[in-house]
C-alpha cells in the first residue's frame, strides 16, 4: 500500500463525537469525507484545533480508522493542543491537512504479520489491522499499556487479529511487564513475515533490534515535533542510513533497518 501517495489537501472537518475511551485517552470522530476516502493505514492528518487560538501550530495525529466519510483519532492529553482538543464538542469546526506521510507497507507475499503496539502506539494500528485482515493475512497483536484501563481498541483488535496478547506494567491485564517480552516470544515462536511497531521510541528500538536479530523485516512509526507537516520546514528529521529524512513526508513509517537511533539532526553547531 502507499506506493501512490494521495495528494494532501486542506479539508474543513466537523466534530461528530469526542469522548473518553480509556484512562487519559479520548477518541474524536471527525466528518472528513475527502480525507477518509483517501487515507492509507499509517498516514496522519495535521489538525488545526481552531477555536482555541493561543497556540498557533497544527498538531499531527494518526488516523486510527476511516469509514463512512469519517476519520477517528485516538489521542492522549499531554499539553495545550490536546487539552483544547478535549474541549471540542459535536458540530465544532476544525480543519485538517491530509492525508499525509508514508504509511505501513505490506511486502509482497506476506502471510503472517506481527503488530506490536505500546500505549498510544495502538492509534496508527487500527486501519493497518483492518487492511491486513481484508487481505487474509494472519495477524498477531502484541499490545502493551501501563494498566488494563489503558489498553486501546481492544474490540477492534480482538475481532480482527488471529491472536491478541497483552502486557501491562502493573499486571492488571495479561503479562505483568513490557510488551517487548511478548514481541520477543512471538518472534521466536511463530516467525512472522513482517513486524509493525508503534509506541514509545525506546520500545520501538528494542523491537527493531529483536527483529534484526531474528532477520525479520520491521517497520516503525516515528513521532517528531512537526511544523509544516508537508516537508518544507525540516523540523521533523529522522536520521537514517540514507541521510536525514523528514518524518512527515518520508515517514512517519520507516524501515527499522534504515533508522539510526538516537542520532537525529545534524551535529551541534550546524556544521
Amino acid at each position: 500500500m502507499c506506493t501512490e501517495v494521495p495528494t494532501p489537501a486542506i479539508e474543513p472537518v466537523v466534530v461528530v463525537s469526542n469522548e473518553r475511551v480509556a484512562e487519559g485517552v479520548s477518541r474524536i470522530v471527525l466528518d472528513a469525507p475527502r480525507t477518509a476516502g483517501a487515507v492509507e493505514p499509517g498516514q496522519f492528518v495535521h489538525l488545526r484545533i481552531s477555536r482555541h487560538a493561543d497556540f498557533i501550530l497544527r498538531r499531527p495525529f494518526s488516523v486510527h480508522r476511516a469509514r463512512d466519510g469519517r476519520i477517528e483519532i485516538l489521542y492522549q492529553v499531554v499539553g495545550l493542543g490536546t487539552r483544547a482538543l478535549e474541549d471540542a464538542v459535536r458540530d465544532d469546526v476544525m480543519d485538517v491537512i491530509g492525508p499525509l506521510g508514508h504509511g505501513w507497507r505490506v511486502p509482497d507475499g506476506t502471510k503472517r504479520a506481527l503488530v506490536v503496539a505500546g500505549g498510544l502506539g495502538a492509534a496508527p494500528m487500527g486501519m493497518l489491522v483492518e487492511r491486513l485482515a481484508e487481505r487474509g493475512i494472519e495477524v498477531t497483536l502484541a499490545q502493551g499499556a501501563p494498566s488494563a484501563g489503558r489498553l486501546l481498541a481492544r474490540e477492534l483488535f480482538d475481532n480482527l487479529c488471529s491472536r491478541a496478547i497483552v502486557a501491562t506494567d502493573d499486571g492488571s491485564a495479561g503479562l505483568c511487564g513490557f510488551v517487548t517480552v511478548l514481541s520477543a516470544e512471538q518472534l521466536g515462536r511463530d516467525r512472522p513475515d513482517v513486524v509493525y511497531v508503534c509506541g514509545p521510541e525506546p520500545m520501538q528500538r528494542i523491537v527493531a533490534d529483536q527483529c534484526a536479530g531474528a532477520g525479520v523485516p520491521c517497520q516503525v512509526s516515528l513521532e517528531r515535533l512537526m511544523g509544516c507537516g508537508i516537508g518544507a520546514c525540516l523540523s521533523c528529521v529522522v536520521t537514517t542510513r540514507n541521510g536525514l529524512k523528514r518524518a512527515c513526508v518520508d515517514g512517519p513509517v520507516f524501515d527499522a533497518a534504515d533508522v539510526v537511533w538516537d542520532a537525529d539532526g545534524g551535529q551541534e553547531g550546524g556544521r
Partner: protein
C-alpha cells in the same frame, strides 16, 4: 478583473505582486505546490543554501511559544550543487521569480555560493542571510556588527550582478546602522526581520527544549518588533525594504507596507495555513481596491511619508 496595479520593484526585479515566501518556511516551493499556484506569488525565496552540504541541528528543532515558535533548524541543506541539480530546475519551470537565500560560515563561503548561482539563469536574485541565529559560525554573527556585515556583502557583490538582497537580524541595538552599512556596499534591497533569539526551558527536565539552547522566534508574537524595524530602516536607507515577521493576513501585510516595506514575506503562517501567501496577495489587492488605491506602491511608507 481588478484595476489595482500590484507590481512592485526590488532592485532589477519586477514582481507581479509584493508577496513573497520567507526563507526556510516554504521549502523550495515544491512542497507547497499542492496548495499554492506559485505563479500567483511575487517571488519564491528558497531555504538557505550553503556551499557544502550542512546537516543542521539535533532534534527537537522547534518548540511552540505564545503566538509564535522557536526554530533551530540550523540551515540543513544539500549544498549549492545539489540545489542547482535538484530544486532549481523544478523551480525554473514555474512562472515565478526565484530568490535564493545564501548562507556561509565565512565571507568567502557566501561568495562561493553567490558565484556558483550567478551563472544560473533561473535564479533571479540572492538573499544573503547574515542573520540566522541557529549556527555557531557565520549566520547572525555577521549581521550584528557593521564591519562584518559589510565584509560579507562586499564579497558577494564582487561576484554577482544579480539583484542582491541582504537579510538583517533584529538582534541588534540599531538596525538602521547595519542597513546603511550594507546599502553602502551595494546591496539592492534589505529584508527584515530574521528571527529574534529566544529560549524555552522545559520545567520537567530543567533543560532548554532545544539542544542548542537558543532558537529563533518567529510568528505573530514578533510582528510589532518587525513593523517597528521596517519603519526605522525604510526611513534610513533609499533601497527597497522587504518586510516580514508574523504576517498572517492581508491586513498584517498592509501594516508592513505602510511602515515602508516595498514587498513582504510570509513565514511561520504557512505552517498553519499553507495557502496563506496567495490569500495575502489577493487580500492586499482587495485592501487597495476597497480604498480606491490604484497602485499597491502607494501604500509604501504611507504611515510616515508627507502627503
Amino acid at each position: 478583473m481588478s484595476t489595482v496595479d500590484m507590481r512592485v520593484r526590488v532592485g532589477a526585479l519586477e514582481l507581479r505582486n509584493p508577496v513573497m515566501t520567507a526563507s526556510g518556511t516554504f521549502g523550495s516551493g515544491r512542497e507547497y505546490a499542492d496548495f499554492v499556484d506559485l505563479s500567483r506569488l511575487g517571488a519564491v525565496v528558497t531555504k538557505g543554501v550553503s556551499f557544502e552540504p550542512w546537516a543542521g541541528n539535533p532534534s527537537p528543532r522547534i518548540v511552540e511559544t505564545p503566538s509564535g515558535m522557536l526554530n533551530s533548524i540550523g540551515l540543513q541543506n544539500p549544498g549549492v550543487e545539489a540545489f542547482c541539480a535538484g530544486d532549481l530546475p523544478w523551480l525554473a519551470q514555474r512562472d515565478v521569480p526565484v530568490i535564493v537565500n545564501v548562507v556561509g560560515h565565512r565571507a568567502d563561503e557566501y561568495a562561493a555560493v553567490a558565484e556558483r548561482l550567478d551563472s544560473e539563469q533561473a535564479v533571479h536574485a540572492l538573499e544573503v542571510n547574515i542573520s540566522c541565529p541557529n549556527v555557531d559560525a557565520g549566520g547572525m554573527a555577521f549581521g550584528t556588527t557593521c564591519p562584518a556585515a559589510a565584509d560579507v556583502v562586499r564579497s558577494v557583490r564582487a561576484v554577482t550582478s544579480k539583484t542582491l538582497i541582504v537579510k538583517l537580524s533584529p538582534n541588534v541595538t540599531d538596525v538602521t546602522e547595519i542597513a546603511r552599512a550594507v546599502e553602502a556596499e551595494g546591496a539592492d534591497a534589505v529584508s527584515l526581520i530574521n528571527t529574534l533569539l529566544g529560549m524555552v526551558i522545559d520545567t520537567r527536565t530543567f533543560k532548554p527544549v532545544l539542544p542548542r539552547g537558543v532558537g529563533g522566534l518567529s510568528g505573530p508574537a514578533v510582528r510589532p518588533v518587525a513593523v517597528r524595524m521596517v519603519w526605522q530602516v525604510a526611513q534610513a536607507v533609499s533601497i527597497p525594504v522587504i518586510g516580514m515577521g508574523g504576517i498572517t493576513c492581508a491586513n498584517d501585510a498592509a501594516e508592513f507596507m505602510l511602515a515602508g516595506a516595498s514587498a513582504v514575506a510570509v513565514g511561520t503562517a504557512n505552517f498553519i495555513d499553507p495557502t496563506t501567501t496567495v490569500g495575502v496577495a489577493e487580500g492586499l489587492e482587495r485592501f487597495c481596491a476597497a480604498r480606491g488605491i490604484g497602485r499597491v506602491t502607494d501604500l509604501v511608507g504611507a504611515a510616515w511619508k508627507k502627503q
